[in-house]
Amino acid sequence: MTTQDSRHSVRNAAVVPDELNEVECTVNGARARFSVPPHRTLMDALRYQLDLTGTKTCCAEGECGACTVLVDGVGVNSCLMLAAEADGSTITTVEGLGLDTPSGLSDLQESFLEAGAVQCGFCIPGQVVAAEYLLRGNPSPTVEEIREGMSGNLCRCAGYQRIVAAVQMTARKRSHHD
């Protein structure tokens, strides 16, 4: 085999396309169907294939929580999950939380605004989804429980006090409605 040939074969090997996986799931109440290469994360599929850019890419390795979504009602880091694994699941992103309200914002999102919990805003979609997950499992959390439940969501503006206040405010609103 000549040098030319071996270079040619290497080039050919590199362009073999990834085998695609079909994914069918429910995203924010609507059916979604798309194909993904095996290495694609759920985070990237949501952002770049379904245009749901509320889910943020930040550390992309499970440290920061900016990509938090609900998969079958469970809060997960969408950067640590392959899109292929989401086949058959029900996903809620930050865009799906306020679908039933006239303003398009959930009570929790309104509380974030009222409490002044949003500074640069980049971490907020993940914070909101993590808080929604926390409140569904624990409708009246203590401050300690809020801090623990949201310890995987980092805010580099360090606006934690008001984020905690927004979660407490939502818990109070929801308990009055019940």
Partner: protein, 290 residues
């Protein structure tokens, strides 16, 4: 890289055998996806076993043991009432892994059996004398976790094999356990040092030691000790820590790590001792309490 989702254990182990050494089992993915992103592992095939129908159920409580299946998550382990009653140290270790979102995905078996010397759930499981069942195309074998670790990230689970269950025997009446970990910051950090202690009714103790050797280490079992005697407890701690060979790394220097190991070991022994015959539900230790 290809993604494959088998529906039976036979299909899963056949796929692993077909690409032995380059296929990887995918469960929670909380470690594996980080490794894929950094290209520290470059598998040819991912075998996602979460929809394998004939796996052991996540948590199977029997009269003499709890058997965990490969899909059990840290969140499920930490929330299970029998786990909290029988193995408080294991519930405590599961509760400090990563964050809520990570614990909702991370697999107990993958964490404890991946061979990382800093894995949080390995010290309690070694101390509690857990055993793992390893499956391949040539059948199953069961080994004690104490014998399972060969070196950092090297275990008895070889190419073409996967761990299909983890069995933890019910502790003897009158015994209890406690897990303590030290990290540089609270949450989403790896252990600088971790210790799980099991103390029997008569004062005998066993310890699992994390991040102070190339593998999770077993300390003891010691002889019966009068736990009210400070001198006897110090001697017991010496004995429990004799296998430890702490080194310096990014998380701590050698001297500091050795000193903190001693503090944690003493506290874990006394905490486990205090929980024996607890008449009220055991209050699990959270990081930062100590």
């Amino acid at each position: 890289m290809r993604y494959y989702r088998p529906t039976t254990t036979a299909e899963a182990v056949a796929a692993l055998a077909g690409e032995a050494g380059t296929a990887r089992v995918l469960v929670g993915g909380t470690d594996l996806l980080v490794a894929l992103r950094h290209r520290t592992v470059e598998p040819s095939l991912l075998v996602d076993i979460k929809r394998v129908r004939d796996l052991r159920p996540p948590i199977d409580v029997e009269s003499r043991a709890i058997t965990f299946g490969p899909t059990v998550t840290m969140s499920a382990v930490a929330a299970d009432p029998t786990v909290r009653e029988w193995f408080p140290s294991l519930a405590e270790a599961a509760l400090v892994v990563g964050s809520v979102a990570i614990r909702n995905r991370a697999s107990l078996i993958a964490n404890s059996a991946n061979g990382s010397p800093a894995a949080d759930t390995a010290p309690p499981l070694v101390a509690l004398d857990a055993s793992v069942t390893i499956a391949s195309t040539s059948g199953e074998r069961t080994v004690r976790l104490r014998d399972f670790f060969l070196g950092s990230r090297r275990t008895l689970c070889g190419p073409g094999e996967m761990v299909t269950s983890l069995r933890v025997p019910r502790p003897a009446d009158g015994s209890s356990s406690c897990f303590l970990r030290m990290t540089r910051r609270r949450g989403v950090d790896l252990a600088t040092v971790s210790v799980a202690a099991v103390v029997e009714r008569d004062g005998r103790a066993t310890a699992g030691l994390g991040a102070v050797g190339p593998v999770t280490l077993l300390g003891g079992p010691t002889g019966p000790v009068a736990l009210w005697s400070e001198a006897e407890v110090e001697n017991m701690v010496d004995e429990l820590l004799s296998p430890a060979t702490p080194i310096e790394d990014v998380r701590a220097g050698q001297t500091y790590r050795a000193a903190m190991l001693r503090v944690l070991a003493r506290r874990a022994v006394l905490c486990a001792a205090g929980r024996r015959d607890a008449r009220e539900p055991i209050r699990l230790t959270q990081e930062g309490d100590s």
